[in-house]
C-alpha cells in the first residue's frame, strides 16, 4: 500500500508540476473568460455614432420624419454611440445621381457612414443602403426595422386605422419559463439545460483527456523500458492502479481550481461592471455538483482501466492511436444521444441509454441536470457502473501484467484471450 502511494505521488506530482497542467488549469478558464468578455469589452470601446442620411425619392417627408423619430438619437444597443439621422426629401427623382455623387463624397470624407434611398411605386416600397462598410449587420438591421415599422404604420394609417390602437393590439408577449424543483418553482430560461450541457461537456473532455493520459503514461513506461525495473519492486496491479489514481487526482485538482475560479468569477465580472442580466452565471445546485464529481470519478475510473489495458498491449504511439479508438468511440456515441435526452429525458429510450454504464457519465448526468430522474434510476446507473468498473479492472489487470512485458507486434483478440490464461 505504501509503495502504491509512492506511485500515486510520482504520477500526481509529475503532472501537477508540469507546465502543461499550469497552462491548462490556470489559463484555460482565463482564456474562456477572455473569449466571453473580450467582445463585450470591445463593443464598450466602440463609442462612434452611426451617421446615416435617409432619402425619399417620393418627397415623402412624413415617412422620413417617422423614420427619424424611431432611429434618431437612439443609442446603439451594443456600442456606446447613437444614431444621427439626417433626412432628405427629393422632389425631382432625376436629380438623384447628383445627390448621390454628393453623398458619396460625404461618405469618403467621413461625414456620414452611409445613406438609405427609399422609393415608392404604387403601394410597393423598396429601399437601398449605400455605404463603404455593408458588413455592419447590427446597423443595417436597425435601419431595416425602423424603416419597415414606419412604412407599415403609414400603410395602416392610409387604410384608416388608428395607430395607437394598432400598437396596443399588436404588442407581442414573452413566455417566461419556470422550472419545477422540489422547493417550488424558479425562473429558468434554458439555464439548466445550458448548464447541464456545459458540465456534461467538461465531463466528456476530462474523462477523455485524463483517460488518454493514462494510456500515454502506460505506453511511455513501456517505451522507456522503465517498466521492468518498477515491477521488480512492485506488483503490476499496484503500478496500474497507482497510475490511474494519481492521474485521477490530477483531474480532481483541476476541478478544484476551476470551481474556485468559478466562485470568484462573478466578482471579477462585477468589477468590470459587466454583470448585466445576460452575463449572470446560474447557481449550480449542490446536488448537481455532487453528481458531477461522482460521475467523473466513476466514469474516469471506468475509462482509465480500459485505456490502461489498451496502453499495455501496444509498444509505440502509432499503435496506441489505433487501440484507443474503440474506447473513444464509446464516449463519442454517448454524446450523439444528447439531443434525444434533452427533448425527452424520461422516455424509455433515454432511460435505457442512460443506464448503459459506458454512457452513464454523459447521459445520466445530463438527465439529472435537465430533469432529475427517480432516484432508483440514478442508484441503478451508479451500481451498474461500479460492477462494470470491477469487471473492467479485472480484465485490464489480467491483460496489463502480460502486456507490459510484450514488445513488437500488437496482439489480436484471440491472442489476448490466451493472455488471460497466463499465470
Amino acid at each position: 500500500m505504501n509503495k502504491m502511494f509512492l506511485v500515486i505521488k510520482r504520477e500526481y506530482l509529475e503532472r501537477v508540476l508540469s507546465k502543461w497542467f499550469l497552462i491548462g488549469t490556470l489559463l484555460g478558464p482565463v482564456l474562456m473568460a477572455v473569449l466571453i468578455l473580450a467582445p463585450l469589452l470591445v463593443t464598450k470601446l466602440d463609442t462612434s455614432d452611426r451617421k446615416v442620411t435617409v432619402l425619399s425619392l417620393n418627397n415623402d417627408t412624413a415617412l422620413l420624419d417617422s423614420i427619424e423619430k424611431r432611429l434618431g438619437n437612439k443609442k446603439d444597443p451594443l456600442g456606446k454611440g447613437k444614431y444621427v439621422v439626417k433626412t432628405l426629401a427629393i422632389e425631382d427623382p432625376s436629380s438623384l445621381p447628383k445627390v448621390q455623387e454628393d453623398l458619396a463624397k460625404q461618405i469618403k470624407s467621413g461625414d456620414i457612414n452611409g445613406y438609405l434611398v427609399i422609393k415608392e411605386e404604387g403601394k410597393e416600397h423598396s429601399a437601398e443602403f449605400f455605404a463603404e462598410n455593408v458588413s455592419d449587420l447590427g446597423t443595417i438591421r436597425r435601419l431595416e426595422d425602423a424603416t419597415s415599422d414606419a412604412i407599415v404604420e403609414k400603410r395602416l394609417s392610409l387604410e384608416g386605422m388608428d395607430i395607437k390602437k394598432i400598437n396596443e393590439l399588436s404588442k407581442p408577449i414573452d413566455i417566461k419559463t419556470k422550472k419545477l424543483v422540489d422547493a417550488g418553482t424558479k425562473e429558468d430560461n434554458g439555464q439548466s439545460m445550458f448548464l447541464g450541457l456545459i458540465m456534461m461537456f467538461i465531463l466528456y473532455m476530462t474523462m477523455l483527456i485524463y483517460g488518454m493520459t493514462v494510456l500515454r503514461g502506460v505506453v511511455e513506461e513501456k517505451q522507456s523500458r522503465i517498466i521492468e525495473v518498477v515491477i521488480s519492486s512492485i506488483s503490476p496491479l499496484q503500478l496500474m492502479f497507482g497510475k490511474i489514481l494519481g492521474i485521477g487526482l490530477v483531474g480532481l485538482t483541476q476541478f478544484t481550481v476551476w470551481s474556485i475560479f468559478g466562485a470568484i468569477l462573478p466578482t471579477i465580472l462585477a468589477s468590470f461592471s459587466l454583470a448585466s442580466g445576460m452575463m449572470s452565471i446560474p447557481d449550480i445546485p449542490k446536488s448537481l455538483l455532487v453528481y458531477f464529481v461522482l460521475y467523473f470519478v466513476l466514469g474516469y475510473f471506468l475509462f482509465a482501466t480500459l485505456f490502461a489495458l489498451a496502453g499495455s498491449i501496444v509498444s509505440n504511439e502509432q499503435d496506441a492511436q489505433q487501440v484507443q479508438m474503440p474506447i473513444t468511440m464509446l464516449l463519442i456515441i454517448a454524446t450523439i444521444f444528447t439531443t434525444l435526452i434533452i427533448r425527452d429525458p424520461n422516455g424509455t429510450t433515454s432511460i435505457a441509454l442512460s443506464l448503459v454504464p459506458f454512457f452513464g457519465p454523459i447521459l445520466m448526468f445530463l438527465r439529472i441536470a435537465v430533469q432529475t430522474p427517480p432516484f432508483w434510476q440514478i442508484a441503478l446507473s451508479l451500481s451498474l457502473m461500479v460492477v462494470t468498473i470491477i469487471a473492467c479492472s479485472w480484465l485490464a489487470a489480467k491483460i496489463y501484467r502480460v502486456g507490459i512485458l510484450m514488445y513488437g507486434k500488437r496482439p489480436n483478440i484471440p491472442e489476448l484471450i490466451k493472455w488471460l490464461k497466463y499465470t
Binding site: 523500458r225 521492468e228 525495473v229
Partner: protein
C-alpha cells in the same frame, strides 16, 4: 553464513501459449558467489531471471530464494538490472533514485545518504539535479545500476550490465561488483561477453533452447574441455609445418602461431618433430579453451 543456497530452481517449466521458454530447468546458485547465466538470444535467460524476481511465475517446478518459497516480499532482497532498462525521462536523477529506492522500502532517512554515497562512488554526483533525458546512455546506465543496489540487496541480478559502457566505466563497474562480492552479496551475471564472465564468475550455467546444456564451476568446466590447441614461438624455418599429418589448422598471429592438432594427437609428438627439424622453440604452450569456444561448441552443436 548458512549453507543454504541463494537460489534453488527445481525442474521449472514456463511456457507462453505454444512456446516453451524454460523447459525443466534446475540450477543452484551458492550464496556469495558470482554466477554466470549464459546462453544465446532467446534461450530463456530473461524468463528465468523474471521468475527469480517474481515478475512472472513458473507453470510447474519450484523456485526457492534464500531457502524460502518465492514471495513478493522477497523482491526487497533482490536488486535487478534488466537488459531492457530505462528511466523516467522527465524526472530529475535524484528524484528518480528516491522513487525507485522507495519502491524497495528504503527508509527515506537513509535514501539521501545512500544516493550520495553511490553517486560519488560511480562519479555522477554532479548529475543528481539534472533531468534524466539530458544524460548520455552510459550515464543513465550508472543511474540504473545505483537503483539496483540502493537497498543493499543480498542478491543482485545484472543482465548485460556492460553494454553501453566505455572501457573505463566498465572497469569501474567490475571493481564495484568485486566489492559487492567481498561483502557477501550473491551476484548473477547474464551476458554475452565471455571475457567478463571469465573475469568475474565462479560458477556458470549455459542455457540453450530453454534447456540447461552446461553447469558448474567455471574452472572445472574449462579443464574438462580437453584442449588440442597450441601456441608456439620459434626461430628458424617453418618447413616442419608443411604437410604435417598431426596438424589440423594453423593460424598466424603477430606474436605467435596457433596450431590446432588433429584429434587424438599427443602434443609431445609435435614437439619432438619440431626440435628434430632444427628450429629453436621459445614458447610451446597448451591453450586452455576460452569460454567463448566452449559457448560456441556447446551451442553450435545443438543447432
Amino acid at each position: 553464513m548458512s549453507t543454504t543456497q541463494a537460489i534453488e530452481i527445481k525442474s521449472v517449466t514456463k511456457s507462453f501459449g505454444d512456446f516453451t521458454a524454460v523447459n525443466n530447468l534446475s540450477l543452484e546458485v551458492a550464496q556469495g558467489s558470482v554466477f554466470g547465466l549464459l546462453g544465446p538470444n532467446g534461450a530463456g535467460k530473461t524468463t528465468t531471471i523474471r521468475m527469480i524476481v517474481s515478475i512472472t511465475f513458473p507453470d510447474s517446478g519450484q523456485v526457492k530464494i534464500f531457502g524460502e518459497q518465492l514471495n513478493p516480499k522477497m523482491q526487497e532482497r533482490i536488486g535487478y538490472l534488466p537488459e531492457e532498462r530505462g528511466l523516467y525521462k522527465k524526472m530529475k536523477v535524484g528524484e528518480q533514485l528516491r522513487f525507485l529506492g522507495g519502491l524497495k522500502s528504503v527508509p527515506s532517512s537513509e535514501l539521501d545518504k545512500r544516493i550520495k554515497h553511490w553517486a560519488e562512488r560511480l562519479q555522477i554526483a554532479d548529475w543528481l539535479d539534472k533531468k534524466t533525458e539530458e544524460l548520455s546512455k552510459g550515464m543513465q546506465q550508472k543511474i540504473q545500476f545505483i537503483a539496483t543496489v540502493l537497498h543493499n540487496p543480498e542478491l543482485i541480478i545484472l543482465d548485460e550490465p556492460f553494454s553501453g559502457l566505455d572501457p573505463v566505466n566498465a572497469n569501474l563497474l567490475i571493481e564495484v561488483i568485486h566489492e559487492l562480492k567481498s561483502k557477501g552479496t550473491t551476484i548473477i551475471l547474464s551476458t554475452h561477453v565471455m571475457e567478463q564472465v571469465e573475469k568475474l564468475c565462479d560458477d556458470i550455467c549455459l542455457i540453450n533452447k530453454s534447456q540447461k546444456v552446461l553447469a558448474g564451476n567455471l574452472k572445472t568446466i574449462k579443464k574438462s574441455f580437453a584442449s588440442n590447441k597450441l601456441a608456439i614461438n620459434y626461430e628458424g624455418e617453418s618447413d616442419f609445418l608443411n604437410n604435417n599429418n598431426l596438424v589440423k589448422k594453423i593460424a598466424q598471429y603477430a606474436s605467435h602461431l596457433e596450431i590446432e592438432l588433429v584429434e587424438g594427437t599427443d602434443s609431445q609428438e609435435l614437439l619432438k618433430q619440431i626440435i628434430n627439424s632444427g628450429v629453436r622453440i621459445n614458447r610451446f604452450e597448451m591453450m586452455e579453451p576460452s569460454l567463448n569456444e566452449i559457448f560456441i561448441r556447446k551451442v553450435g552443436k545443438n543447432e
